[in-house]
């Protein structure tokens, strides 16, 4: 079983992110359960979305406390709150870049990838919604999902101009991390 925890504010598209990831796993023949947990029921309030993935149907219905992967859509959430709480020993975190954001200390085998997802989104979609760039980065950083599958999911989910923009955002997020990895 693999578990992904997404940190965002209500209205920033975390549910879409979870559903795109869940759908991608579904297309790869795995069982996924993607679900949100809202804090205060209003826009801008911190919230989580989760994806739990397994080779057999997912029955566990609790929230995710010890994720394999963390995706932080809004890095301002890291002020005063540990978004890495419970992250597995070899866990991977994907962070949306923000100037002056404080990255939590990580354990020896954990990895952190920072992606300028909002910047990519502004260029590709025209709005600072970094979700699709982040899932591209997630795929590149973890090798969990194939880029083709993500693009297929985005094509199914979006149409028209938004589709084109989001396809580019996924690709650029993916390539940004792949480049960073080759430099290493």
């Amino acid at each position: 079983m693999k578990e992904i925890r997404i940190h965002a504010r209500a209205g920033q598209g975390a549910i879409t992110t979870a559903s795109l990831l869940g759908y991608a796993y579904f297309l790869e023949g795995k069982y996924a359960y993607a679900f949100p947990h809202f804090g205060a029921a209003r826009m801008g309030a911190p919230m989580n979305a989760f994806v739990r993935i397994d080779a057999k149907p997912v029955r566990l219905r609790s929230q995710i406390y010890e994720p394999d992967y963390v995706i932080v859509v809004d890095p301002t959430l890291m002020r005063g709150f540990n978004c890495f709480s419970g992250l597995k020993e070899e866990g991977v975190a994907i962070l949306n870049e923000k100037e002056g954001a404080q990255t939590p200390k990580i354990k020896a085998k954990q990895k952190v990838f920072v992606v300028p997802a909002n910047e990519i989104a502004l260029k590709t979609i025209g709005r600072p919604l970094g979700n699709t760039a982040l899932i591209g980065a997630f795929a590149a950083a973890t090798d969990e999902l194939k880029l083709d599958i993500l693009l297929e999911v985005v094509k199914k989910r979006f149409s028209g101009k938004a589709q084109q923009g989001n396809i580019e955002a996924v690709q650029q997020g993916y390539e940004y991390i792949k480049k960073a990895l080759t430099k290493e």
Partner: protein, 395 residues
């Protein structure tokens, strides 16, 4: 065909397959997505129904009552305060023997206001004459809606069904669902033919005054039908299996490693999935534990519960609702199944968890198994925060 769908979307698709002529609803979290999807289907012409917007749940329930009284299949969905606002109409729908199918997306009750999941809403309406089925996952939510129309509209039954699914956990949870095909659904659910209907050409009256000479028999008749349902629901489940391939056995309960179990948890709804995970974990360590999932809370399958639990030494009942000032609602039923019988578990302990969306984790379930000892627990809340209680009492 298997699809990756949000629970609400899956239920809306299932309702669409059942072709209700009238849908009426008033939005309330976490039910909203279901009725939004249906409204969209109607607006797009995919579903030939009349979607009637109303100003309240009381009116939504009244509209579907009227539709059914005129012989038209109907659907509504609600949650929490909305369900309570419908309450008096729901008693009427059952009293009039109208076969409504509705969804209750389970949510807590105010005050304090809380939009998250527990089962206080539908459990509190256990006496309103609706059949109540609780879904563990979105596949069951879909399938139970199909079965609900088949059961409710049968001439031998003519009683409404409430399909209960945990708010957010299922309604907003996306997972793989095998959506039934229209032709098969058409075969499984015949078109609705009312026994009696309001018709200006042949005027009749419904729901008139029943004075003390008549009222008692109306309730007796419903109670008798609920007895019949204990045989009829399994029959429909069998039909469902032969049409769609999925086997819900008697569709009253589901047994999970109960045969040789020394400790069994009894529960309803999505938490059963989490309990199954803990059962697997403890079984792997050689512990004889199991789960009894109650699917049908009304009618309550006392005999099945008796047969399954009579030799189990210890039983824990996990309620996601509370009957303030009394034993927990599901625990009461489980205990009632054994009084005056030859056999009985030595211990039937009662636990309450998950109220107002407090997450029920693997640890919560492990704790229930741990606390299920020789000493019976009459009522205990799991996962309380002691620091909040200190604040409450100003210590």
């Amino acid at each position: 065909m298997k699809e990756f769908l949000e629970g609400s979307r899956a239920v809306a698709e299932a309702v669409k397959l059942c072709k209700p002529g009238v849908i009426s609803a008033y939005p309330i979290t976490p039910q909203t997505h279901i009725v939004e999807e249906l409204a969209q289907m109607v607006a797009d012409g995919e579903l030939k129904s009349q979607f009637i917007n109303v100003e309240s749940e009381h009116s939504a329930a009244s509209v579907v009552l009227g539709a059914l009284a005129c012989g038209v299949r109907a659907f509504t969905a609600t949650s929490s305060q909305g369900l309570f606002y419908m309450a008096e109409v729901l008693f009427n729908i059952a009293g009039l023997r109208l076969p409504l199918v509705m969804t209750c997306t389970n949510r807590s009750i105010s005050a304090p206001i809380n939009i998250w999941n527990d089962q206080q809403d539908s459990v509190s309406l256990r006496d309103c004459g609706f059949i109540q089925l609780y879904a563990e996952n979105n596949q069951e939510a879909v399938d139970f809606h199909l079965m609900a129309y088949r059961i409710s509209e049968d001439k031998s039954i003519m009683l409404p069904t409430m399909v209960c699914m945990d708010g957010f956990i299922l309604t907003h949870g996306m997972e793989s669902v095998d959506m039934p095909e229209q032709e098969k659904v058409d075969k499984f659910i015949a078109s609705y033919k009312a026994l009696y209907k309001l018709d200006t050409a042949n005027p009749i009256s419904m729901g008139l005054l029943a004075d003390p000479d008549y009222y008692l028999e109306t309730r007796f008749a419903i109670q008798e039908t609920f007895k019949d349902l204990l045989k009829f629901i399994p029959k429909v489940s069998e039909e469902f299996k032969s049409n769609f391939g999925r086997d819900y056995k008697d569709c009253l309960v589901e047994e999970y490693y109960t045969k040789d179990a020394e400790k069994i948890i009894v529960a309803m709804g999505s938490v059963c999935g989490t309990i199954k995970e803990v059962v697997d974990e403890l079984r792997a360590k050689g512990k004889k534990v199991g789960l009894l999932k109650i699917i049908s809370f009304r009618p309550f399958p006392y005999s099945r519960v008796y047969e399954i639990l009579k030799d189990a030494p210890r039983v824990a009942v996990l309620d996601k609702a509370v009957s303030l000032g009394a034993y927990a609602p599901l625990a009461v039923e489980i205990k009632a199944a054994f009084f005056g019988k030859k056999k009985s578990p030595k211990v039937i302990s009662s636990f309450i968890a998950g109220l107002g969306g407090r997450d029920i984790t693997l640890d919560s379930v492990r704790e229930v198994f741990r606390k299920l000892t020789q000493r019976e627990v009459s009522l205990e809340f799991i996962d309380l925060k002691p620091e909040l209680l200190r604040e409450e009492y100003g210590e």
